[in-house]
Structures are given as C-alpha cells and as structure tokens.
C-alpha cells in the first residue's frame, strides 16, 4: 500500500537505494520514527532487500552477545538468594512445629528449648541482616534521588514551569497525577497518587505523546499507598510533546503502550498555566 503524499516514493519506482541506506540502522533500532515508517513501507516494494534485512538482523542478534562475560559481585548472588527465599517467619513456624512433635521428656524439653531459642535467634539475625540490606538499598535509592533532584532543581531555577494535571481514564478510578515541566528543557517530574498496586510482572510506564508517537518516559512502581514520583528525561525539549499518559505494562516496560491509560493529560500552554516556581 502506498500513501498519496509526496513523502512516499512512487509505486512504480520505489526508492530502494534509500531503503538499502536505512536498513543497517533500522535493523539495530537506530532509525527515527519517520525513517522506520519509510523503511517498513519500502520493504514491500523492494523484495530484493529482504536478504540484506535478514543479515543485518542476524548481525543485531550477534551484537547482543558482543559484551564479554564479567563475573558479577558475590553480593548479587546473595541478594537474589535472599529475594527468592520464603519468608523467615515461615521457616520458624515450620521448625516450631517439628519441635512440638518431640515426646514429652525433661531432657528433650531442655534441648528443644535451646533449639527453639537458637531458631528464634537465628531468625532474628536473618531479620536484622535483611534490615541492614534494606537500609543499604534505601540509602542507594536516596542517593540516586538526590542526584536526580539536583538535576531537577537546576531545571526549576530557569524559566516558566508548567504544572499539568493528569485525569483518571478508567471508570471508578480516583488515580491522579501531576506533571511539572519546563517546556524549554528535557527533564520533568511526574507524581502519581491513588494508583492501584499491579500484579507481579507488571509495572507502570509513562509515555510522552507527540502526534502518533509514544515515547517512553520511564517505568515505575507505586508504594503501598499508591504513590510514586518519577523524574524523567525526554529525548527533546518538552515543548515538543503534547501530552503525557501512564499505562500498566509488562515488567521491564514496552516499546509502545499495550494497555489503556490509567491517567492522561494534555500539556497546557506555559504562559496560561505556570506553576509558582521559576
């Protein structure tokens, strides 16, 4: 199918040379949206390029393997083990049950008592180790946030800021979000509230919207209160985007939205709806 506008090559003389030029970057995911659309349209008219496409895609697959193996730190294995181990309390309960099955004899009771205390102490040590890990993780997150906040504060200090409210898009939902941007810069902040917790394997993903383009602004999860704050960086200054929406997506995020938005809002004109910062 060929569009009837002057950006599309004539169906009688498809621009297969242009296709050949763009195929390498297309296969690596490095073409811009307009180039991607052009390649996909020209592929229909230039079947002789199919082999080249396959070869470049194989090259792209091989590129994934081009990073050399690097031995991960031991702490990674330990963390994964801790994260995939059933709760400590379950272990203690199960051990306690075993203890209760021991016949009633004084000596055994004494041993069982010592064992029970050992189990409790062991559980306590595990709990405290977990708390230490948790505090370390929290510290790392706070450090990252501090870095993000620093870059965001740089933005706050320049020009008019725009505050945009994102409204719920689903029946009965009271999910809301607020976006703060400086249209002349690329960094923005979105804070969400009353967002439902998602099933494991799912995450929220924010999308900057420009015409038919949906550009990922990042993924995030909400806390038990349904609150989260995301500082994002857009590929271009935020004046280039019209709106922002948030959808639930499979963990790791998607290339394009695959679900209906939870909230959505259009960026207002900076001069008519400026936040107090600046």
């Amino acid at each position: 199918m060929v569009r009837n506008d002057n950006t599309t090559p004539q169906s009688t003389q498809p621009d297969c040379d242009t296709l050949a030029d763009l195929l390498p970057a297309y296969s690596m995911g490095m073409t811009d949206t307009a180039e991607t659309l052009l390649v996909e349209e020209l592929l229909v008219h230039c079947p002789e390029q199919a082999t080249a496409l396959e070869e470049y895609q194989a090259l792209s697959d091989a590129m994934l393997f081009s990073a050399p193996d690097v031995m991960p730190p031991a702490s990674l294995g330990t963390k994964l083990q801790a994260l995939t181990t059933p709760e400590v309390s379950t272990t203690v309960d199960s051990d306690s049950n075993k203890i209760r099955t021991i016949p009633f004899r004084n000596a055994v009771i004494a041993i069982a008592g010592i064992a029970a205390v050992s189990v409790i102490l062991f559980g306590l040590v595990l709990y405290l180790l977990g708390e230490v890990d948790s505090l370390r993780d929290e510290n790392r997150v706070l450090s990252a946030l501090a870095q993000d906040n620093e870059s965001f504060l740089n933005v706050l200090g320049t020009g008019d800021l725009l505050q945009t409210s994102l409204a719920p898009q689903q029946d009965g939902s009271n999910a809301v979000a607020t976006v703060i941007t400086n249209p002349q810069r690329t960094v923005g902040l979105v804070r969400v509230e009353n967002f439902p917790r998602l099933d494991p394997g799912m995450t929220y993903q924010a999308w900057l919207i420009r015409g038919d383009d949906r550009i990922s602004a990042g993924i995030f999860d909400v806390d038990p209160s349904g609150i989260a704050t995301l500082i994002f960086t857009a590929p271009q200054s935020l004046a280039n985007y019209e709106a922002l929406g948030i959808t639930p997506e499979p963990a790791g995020g998607s290339d394009a939205p695959t679900n209906s938005p939870v909230v959505f809002g259009t960026f207002a004109d900076a001069s008519s709806d400026s936040a107090s910062g600046g």
Partner: protein, 192 residues
Amino acid sequence: MTLDYASLEDTTLLNHIAEQNQAAFSALYERYGSAVYGLAMQVLRSPSLAEEVAQDTFMKVWKNPTQYDAKKGRFLSWLLTVTRYTAIDRIRQEGRQITSDATALEYVNVKSKQGIPEDPMRRDGQLIRELLQQLPPEQALLVKLGFLHGMTHSQLSAQLDIPLGTVKTRVRLGLQKLRVLWQDAHQLSDEN
C-alpha cells in the same frame, strides 16, 4: 536422589522456576549471571548500576518465567534482550548523558579478555567485538552507542552535537563494513 539442576536445559529450569524452585533459579543464575552482568556493565559502565540491572533482570525471570517463548529463539538471546532494555530504561531513569569518550567503551573489553567460548552465538559475539575494532573509531563509536543505549540517529546527533547527516553516514558506513567483515570471517571459517 538429588536433581542435578546444573545439567538441565534452560526450558526445564524455567518450568521448575515457575514452581518457585530456588535451586533451579540458582542454577540459571550460575549459568548466565556473568553474561547478564557483562552486558549491563557494557551498557552502563557502572558496577553498582549494572548489579541493580542484573538483579532486576533475574527477578523478572523469577516472577514471570513464562514470559519467555521458546518458539521465538534461544533463552539467552531473550534474557540478554531483557537485560539491554532494562539497562536502557535505567539510563533514561537516571537521566544519564552518553559519553563520546571511546576509551570508556573499551574499558570492559580491556578488563575481561577471555578464551574462545564453546557456544557458537557467544563465539560470534566475540568475533563482532573484534571486528568492531577494525572500524574507523568515529563509526565504531556511533554503532556501539546507538545499539547499547537504544538511541536513534537524531538522539545521537543531539547528544553528541554531531550534524544529523554525519551521524547517518557514519552509522550506515560502519554497519555496512561490519556486515562485510562478519560475512568474510564466516566464509573463512567455513572454508577451513
């Protein structure tokens, strides 16, 4: 009798992981931990961020092992794709600027010289790594940055302050040359 998880195929391990079998998960981590962490390091060039990305990647497998579809290719290809996208997302979340310092990109290569892998795809990956060094540095840099950071022509142009036309030409010439070198290397290997 104790099951030897290390000897099980990837798909069998994933079936066990779907039942929250930690021993199967450990075996999978032992098998691919260094490949995942290596790719995360190549993208992020930060041990702490690479560790977090590797952790997120493996936790995605633990939480949802059925996301992998064996009909679409090898498990390791899928796992490395997840790693790459997770790392790219982390770059965007951190708002990190890419670097035009080619030596930074070579850091991981220099630090981890390895023998010849037995796995054909990993051998191919090692070949690509060597062939990239044969490209003109300005082409190799854009190819690596574009692929590893998931950046388009115009994003590379804006971030590196290089004219868009120059970026497109360098990427095209670099990838065309890489393809020819790769094909030649395969042809030589077939003849021997």
